[in-house]
Symmetry: C3
Subunit: 140 residues, 3 copies
């Protein structure tokens, strides 16, 4: 049983959903040494999220942003936590809906994703800045 | 530390939420050999989901479908990804809301679920076809 | 590779979101012995949830409750599962949205959370009573 763990920052992204599978894997060439295992990707922030979805058509990512903005509106007068900007409290809720981590099976030195699956970063702030990830893998 | 990993297809399900705990466990009789560990069930698709919920009353699964259809409506003219059918883009969003995997503790050769918990498949397409799962377990 | 597993009950909480990081860690002093690893916190119920979010301002937790109550309204006449109280079916759906577990990296004997991250319990019933958790950790 081997363990691997690494922290790094993602290149800054604008608000919206972004496909980051290749960027994550560029920090984990050691995946080739795992014949079976798991990889967790964890984001150390509460206003940006990680999820898994369609890796081909960029309009899917645009529609994720559109849906999120309707489902979690900005400027709801019922929010009490409103002093960090109109995008802040909705960003916290969107993060909880999408999730703070993804857990992916590893098989034969590669992620065992479906052909259409990729890792999404959801950047929910207008100016989120750098986002720190910690990746942990374990297996044989 | 032992690792177990297996890929298989679920029997085709109609659109809606389905209890699949027994079907998953039928592919994993080796669970008896784990005194402590974890089981991840991962779905290799972006328009069907996995989550955990109430395992007794089938109307709970019907109400999940009802709520999802209201929260993520079909035919929103703001969707840009609309060429795969009205059910496609909502299926992607529902998948992100519910999740693409569940991670379950194993104790004494069995899943350590609460008495009312079961694994749900959310089939979000009208004609989703076969769905491939990969299950990975590790423990002692 | 070491495994650790423990079941315990949380002190009863009122309906709403609660920060439980310290309460969870009070049951896991053995975290100090892990230089690298993972901790899963799993709730054995279908009407209370676990998620990760902002650990500082209590109004964030209030706004989570406000948003959940709007997004998953009580008393929708379309619900078929309505005989356990108006808060029951919404509690199941909120649990699926927020999640039944969190998976956290361990580094140098501590949770590798971001500075603003904490573990939330979402108590979605009016009178949920005691909630049982099972925590499982593995690592070196």
């Amino acid at each position: 049983m081997n363990f691997f763990q690494k922290q790094f920052s993602l290149a800054t992204k604008r608000r919206g959903f972004h496909l980051i599978t290749d960027e994550v894997l560029s920090h984990f060439p050691e995946i080739r040494t795992f014949s079976v295992g798991m990889l967790q990707v964890f984001i150390q922030h509460t206003s940006a999220s990680l999820t898994i979805n369609e890796n081909a058509d960029p309009t899917v990512r645009l529609d994720f942003e559109t849906w999120c903005n309707k489902a979690v509106p900005e400027g709801d007068p019922d929010y009490q936590h409103d002093y960090e900007g109109n995008d802040d409290m909705p960003a916290h809720i969107k993060t909880a809906l999408m999730g703070s981590s993804v857990l992916l099976p590893i098989k034969d030195g590669k992620l065992a994703l479906g052909i259409w699956q990729g890792i999404y970063l959801g950047e929910h702030r207008n100016h989120g800045g750098n986002r720190n990830l910690i990746i942990t893998a374990w297996g044989n």
